[in-house]
Homo-oligomer: 530 residues x 2
């Protein structure tokens, strides 16, 4: 049933996809947010979630329904869709959360999966064992073996058209996560939740969350729809989508509301602390903080839950738009500035730029250099790999200035990419928007220097000259010894000094230009173009 | 009448203030956004701006009213407030925009100011001369002299309780801007618009905009309310507020809507390009892009104008909330990731951290280190200034690890701040949230090293040892020669190597600890606390 998931558009490891849910007869566009609906307490009715918030899919708890004297018979008779009054896709959980919270539950995978099937769930879940972060390795491995057996039981169960989750556990052990993912991928199951990440999220351990997701993704095929179980804070959606997560669920919108907490894409606020409502949603443009605080408790909780949902769904639309226009990483850049722990998460994401590069499209709208971190994006890595396959001829000038006819070729140099033939100037990502000289970061120069080194090392018989504008020493230190380095002053003709010594004979024949006697040809052009 | 403006709360150079507008009998909370109302074409009626969007102040064009055969008599008879049906404050412009657009206008400052007074404007404007960016210096200076004379005429006019704008021009010449501002501040006028910045905004020259605002602010007293004339794109609000701008106006919400363009805090989108509406406003949660595109033209323009207004007012609420909670610069950090030119603007802002520091409060909620740029924030500068006034005694250890009793004092070291006595650990900004080792940027280490140098230079008779965890060479290079430098491995006891040579006698008496024989006392603590 893996063909239930089709990927339409990718950006970094993020994707817009279509999850076909045959039992519901619907196709869910991913990334998608699944509000958690508590069968006992519906803060916002599923019908409203569908009609007003655009929810195409939700999640509720099969175990609670199973254990409830009140509800069990009704839901079996009516079926889950009528019971909840929701026509989209419905995922049911199995009691694993209760197992993790309370230590034991009173059912088995065959039983609870059968029940989920019986009530008409569209995506069911076996009873995996959530192992918390930093558990002992042996416990994590043991739990994983138990989860593996449950997946085998799930495979054997008669679940008809119902899709079945294959949760991936493994605590914070990346080898276990990857192995578990590989095992889940090998099963004949359909959707791949990453479990037990909520404690990482609650502790703002976003870098650890990134590593857990990245390890899981290494074990899963690119065609696997991935559900980040329990992740419902909009501040992490962009980061998690960029890693390749497709589904998010959470009761946070309702639970936080009950605690008078207010979600934003930058974090969580307490209503008590707000002097202004930092949001454009229908709640926030018709209320002020004092008005909200003075509302009756249930009205206030409803209003906050609605705000929290508007923000969550809005962020997912923003993310989908970003994937469609190829600027998901630009959005992640902005979200990384919500909290130092989010910056850690973004920096951890970039540690995986090689993996991101595999699904990153070769061409997008425009590369925006937005921080020192931008220099580590997958596009820069890809360009450097390409540089080692390019073969210029003769005496080659790599320059931040214009064409110099004293050389056989005059390539452009643009931080953070490094050198490239002028003909590629209008191609992605070399048509990047980059801060001007004096406003760009040292990291960009250092990466550009790595690009120069890659090209030079791949072309041992070519003579290279680098003409740069005020690169920092840390960048110049990366340039191979055999490259002549010429400094172009920002707004005047080059003064042309050799990097090594002035006593050596000019090995490159660049003549006066490279030797300090300015010529017009060294004069910088406004646009750096020939 | 300068006491019409009262500053309540500051953050960087931004402030929440109250502009008393006596003629309207209202107090406007700043920063405020003034929708431009075209007397001929009211995309959204002023009554709706007031009731639905919360506009406390708007701006319309006195010159257009003056020249209009149709409207002139009506507005004189009814008065501007009844004519527009708006009970908040109304600012009128003078025709300066038309002068800049068309080269000439048919009125004088005494006449048009008298007309503005006659129709009941709450804030009137003389006819200043907008000089575009990069005009010839002589022209800019000449225009400025003409503007100065108009301000003198405005001072002489009988304008009763009407506040009067004193626009500051000067093209992109910072000396002219500062001089013009000083002159305007000296006049008996009330509100200080910064003129002719729209071409800079339209060209995404945000760093130049920052320099123009900063130069103007140098010439104006802190008590002057500052209006960034024509700036109405929400992407720049946070940056401009952080520099000390209080009022923003623009017709962009309506003009962009007419062109099917959609504003966000990250830039401008074309409706034609949108696959998802990246926003939570009442328009965007009840429409989708296809639906908007298929609307009749006037309906669509109205919907887009409403969206644009929701975003503009929402961003100002977000900014006011950020000032109130002391994290305006954190918001600017995020906005800087909307476009490389915004990053240039943010980096330009930080060039003025000394000026920002003057109004930046000594204590706020928490300092978030969110990028290499954070290391250049005014709080870091202030801490470094303070370091040069601190006087530790005896042999002093500056350490990223725990207390070492072999020293007389063991100060903490936290990038990007540098060293401080442990007793200050819980005070702002030293209680900062900072990415962990391995996730922090080189810039933070380099600034911390500057802090070490400031302390060491101020205390020539104190013996210092620095125990750091894997600082980069660029940071260590800043540490004065006489400091002993010890390296603490991230997760093990220090290996303790002297920075200079191992042959020198240990000058600091740190004994085995500083010499490579680990002791428990060098063992890093989890929280770095004693």
């Amino acid at each position: 049933m893996r063909d239930a998931f089709e990927i339409d558009t990718t950006d970094a490891a993020g994707r817009i996809g279509e999850l076909e849910v045959p039992r519901a007869g619907v196709t869910v566009e991913t990334p998608a947010f699944l509000p958690v609906v508590n069968p006992h307490v519906q803060t916002i009715s599923p019908a409203r979630l569908e009609d007003e918030f655009g929810a195409e899919i939700l999640i509720t708890n099969g175990y609670i329904l199973h254990k409830s004297e009140d509800l069990r018979e009704t839901v079996v008779e009516e079926g889950l869709h009528d019971f909840l009054d929701f026509s989209g896709a419905i995922v049911t959980d199995s009691g694993s959360f209760q197992l993790a919270e309370y230590g034991e539950i009173d059912t088995t995978t065959p039983e609870i999966l059968g029940f989920q099937y019986e009530i008409g769930a569209d995506v069911g879940t076996p009873i995996d064992i959530p192992t918390p972060p930093d558990a002992a390795y042996d416990r994590a491995r043991g739990d994983l073996e138990a989860t593996r057996k449950r997946l085998v039981e799930a495979e054997a169960a008669d679940t008809g058209e119902m899709l079945v989750n294959a949760p991936v556990q493994g605590s914070t052990y990346l080898d276990l996560r990857e192995r578990a993912a590989r095992g889940a991928d090998g099963a004949t199951l359909d959707v791949f939740p990453i479990g037990a990440v909520v404690p990482l999220l609650n502790a703002y351990r976003f870098a650890d969350m990134v590593e857990v997701i990245a390890a899981t993704k290494r074990g899963l095929g690119a065609d696997c729809p991935v559900h980040l179980f329990g992740a419902g804070h909009p501040m992490v959606f962009a980061l998690a989508v960029a890693l390749g997560c497709d589904l998010f669920d959470s009761a946070a919108y309702a639970l936080y509301a009950r605690d008078d907490r207010y979600l934003t894409v930058r974090g969580t606020e307490r209503l008590a602390d707000l002097e202004h409502l930092p949001c454009e949603c229908p709640i926030c443009v018709t209320h002020d903080p004092t008005g909200l605080r003075e509302m009756a408790e249930t009205d206030r909780q409803l209003a906050l839950a609605e705000h929290n949902l508007y923000v969550s769904f809005g962020e997912l639309r923003r993310i989908k738009g970003a994937i469609a226009s190829g600027d998901l990483l630009e959005l992640v850049e902005a979200r990384a500035r919500g909290h130092p722990a989010m910056l850690e998460g973004y920096r951890a994401l970039l540690d995986h730029s090689k993996e991101l590069e595999r699904s990153d499209p070769a061409s997008k709208g425009a590369f925006f250099h937005l921080s020192a971190e931008s220099a580590r994006r997958p596009e820069v890595r890809r360009h450097h790999d390409r540089l080692s396959r390019l073969s210029p001829d003769g005496r080659v000038l790599l320059t931040e200035g214009g064409v110099n006819r004293a050389f056989d070729e005059s390539w452009r140099v643009v931080p953070p990419f490094g050198p490239f033939p002028r003909a590629l100037s209008e191609t992605y990502p070399l048509n990047a928007e980059v801060p001007g000289p004096g406003r760009i970061d040292g990291e960009a120069y250092e990466r550009a220097a790595v690009g120069v080194a890659r090209l030079v090392e791949a072309n041992p018989s070519v003579e290279f000259t680098l003409a740069h504008r005020e690169w920092p020493q840390a960048a110049l230190a990366t340039i191979p010894e055999r490259v002549s380095v010429v400094s172009l002053a920002a707004n005047e003709p080059a003064t042309g000094s050799e990097r090594d010594t002035d006593d050596e004979p000019d090995p490159h024949g660049a003549g006066t230009a490279a030797r300090g006697e300015p010529t017009d040809e060294w004069r910088p052009r406004d646009d750096g173009e020939p």
